[in-house]
Amino acid sequence: MPYLIHILILFCIYAILALGLNLVVGYTGLVSIMHAAFFGVGAYATAILTVDYHANFFLSVFVGMVVAGALAYLTGRILRGLSWDYYVLGTVGVNLILFGIFTNWGSLTRGPLGIPGIPRPVLFGIHFATNGQFLFLCFLVLVAVYFLCRFIVRSSFGRVLKAIRGDEKAIAIFGYHTLHYKLAVFSIAAIFAAVAGSLFASYLTFIAPSSFDVMASAFIFSIVILGGAANLNGSLVGALVLTILPEALRFIGFSEDIAAQMRQLVYGLLLVLLMLYRPQGFIGEYKLG
């Protein structure tokens, strides 16, 4: 049972990440491989504020959201006007820079050793100390993010996003300032990722830069692609499959290190096979090409 709760908490965190990224990748058609960097911003905001400054968890979440949103806005502005494959490379680059900051700004992030002793959240006297209580919190956040995303994609704002994906020039001619829409959705996704990062830091009580590198971003990206671009339920399915898969590999009897590599091998294989035979993912609506 404790094991199941652990899996479910991880699922919630990955699902929040994937839902946000799906708004960017699936609905708007911007390929971003830097989501783990925003995830890391949230995680570090919580770690630094709660450990070094004894701030409340929810205050740290808010700070993480603001910083991640601002960073996303800035990144989007810098990378605007890049054709999409250069855009991919640009996002990878920004992820590397942020990873460099997590790793090398020792006085703030304690470098590669990471930050231990992150407390569990307390809200109105409720202490989310046990994993069961923490799962409840994660689940609440996931539900909120899911319905927010659903609201966004069904709103007129969401329709403009899909139009940008379809033909950005055409929708621009109709008078929509597409850059604003792209910056907005990119920032929203980053804010969701920061929330997931705060939960992640508080759940594990320890974070290190290696959780927020380019490979982690590529992993979140593959959840979205696997589940299906432009389908919110697809992101849930993708997160579920990719959370259970490594555990299944461990059950087969691979050692921890080999299991981690096997997992990556399977992700890679799944991505290749999907691109070859099913580019819309498990249950996606939007075919990549």
Partner: protein
């Protein structure tokens, strides 16, 4: 003065390695026009090939290195035959190509880590330390000298192949227009696959040289990919000479950029340079091939 000389020397050495990476990257990009994320992982295959042949199985270097280069070429060739050729036939968008190549990168990197562990390994022979030479008040190892010479050799060899041979003409024809090339009777699939072999072999060669210089680990492919892509883009992507220029510009920017600060920020300098170019001169120093 000594520091300045050493910085210039380091930049030339790094630039030579980047140039080889960029040459292979540009050969493939010129003909396929998509960002091949698996390219760096192919370079790592070359480095681990030498590790397998020469360190684990004690083959002599003169045999092991060519075998490893061929192995990298074959992996690259197979990536085209098994994956990209099928995507091309389906006329998949370049987004699909990039995502598939991302998957291949995962696959290769993980496979290497499973076979050889994810630990850092040394390629150079531990028993005979590399010879160090003093040139103009700077230090340079034999591996680094070989890297610079190899970069020149690859550049001239590739120029010769592209400009003078029928194969090179076919490559240029396909870069220009794949459909028309097919109509006039060029076996485009075969030429593209051979180009993948060629580019992969060049990547493997670069991986081997860097591996001898600094050692090997499975995830170094991402760094190779970025170096190759940044050098190619700032030089003019798809343009063979542009890539070489870009490689040296990148190396000089990196080495002088971290002169007064910690060298851990080296990749950030490269990425900053890339972003500057993408914003102000997206076509690169020399105009690259037009994108589809």
């Amino acid at each position: 003065m000594g520091i300045l000389n050493q910085l210039v020397m380091n930049a030339i050495i790094a630039g030579a390695a980047y140039a080889i990476l960029a040459l292979g990257f540009n050969v493939i990009f010129g003909i396929t026009k998509f960002l091949n994320m698996a390219y760096g992982a192919v370079a790592v295959v070359g480095a681990y090939g030498v590790f397998l042949f020469c360190r684990l199985n004690s083959l002599p270097l003169w045999l092991g290195i060519p075998l490893a280069i061929i192995a990298a070429g074959i992996v690259s060739y197979l990536s085209d035959v098994l994956v990209f050729r099928k995507l091309r036939r389906r006329k998949a968008t370049s987004l699909v190509h990039v995502v598939a190549s991302l998957g291949l990168m995962f696959l290769l990197q993980a496979a290497i880590a499973i076979f050889f562990t994810s630990q850092y390994q040394s390629l150079a022979d531990q028993n005979s330390p590399a010879s160090v030479y003093a040139v103009a008040g700077t230090f340079i190892t034999s591996v680094q000298i070989i890297t610079v010479i190899t970069a020149l050799a690859v550049l001239f060899g590739l120029t010769l192949v592209l400009k003078k041979s029928a194969f090179g003409r076919a490559i240029r024809a396909i870069s220009d227009d794949e459909e028309v090339s097919k109509i006039i009777g060029i076996n485009t699939d075969r030429i593209i696959s051979i180009t993948f072999f060629l580019g992969g072999a060049i990547a493997g060669l670069a991986g081997i040289l860097v591996g001898f210089d600094i050692g090997i680990f499975p995830t170094m492919g991402l760094i190779f990919l970025l170096e190759a892509a940044i050098a190619s883009i700032i030089g003019g992507i798809g343009n063979v000479y542009g890539g070489v220029l870009g490689a040296f510009l990148l190396a000089f920017a990196e080495n002088f950029g971290v002169w007064k600060i910690n060298t851990v920020w080296k990749p950030s300098v490269g990425i900053g340079l890339l972003v500057l170019f993408l914003i102000f001169r997206p076509q690169g120093i020399l105009r690259g091939v037009s994108k589809k």
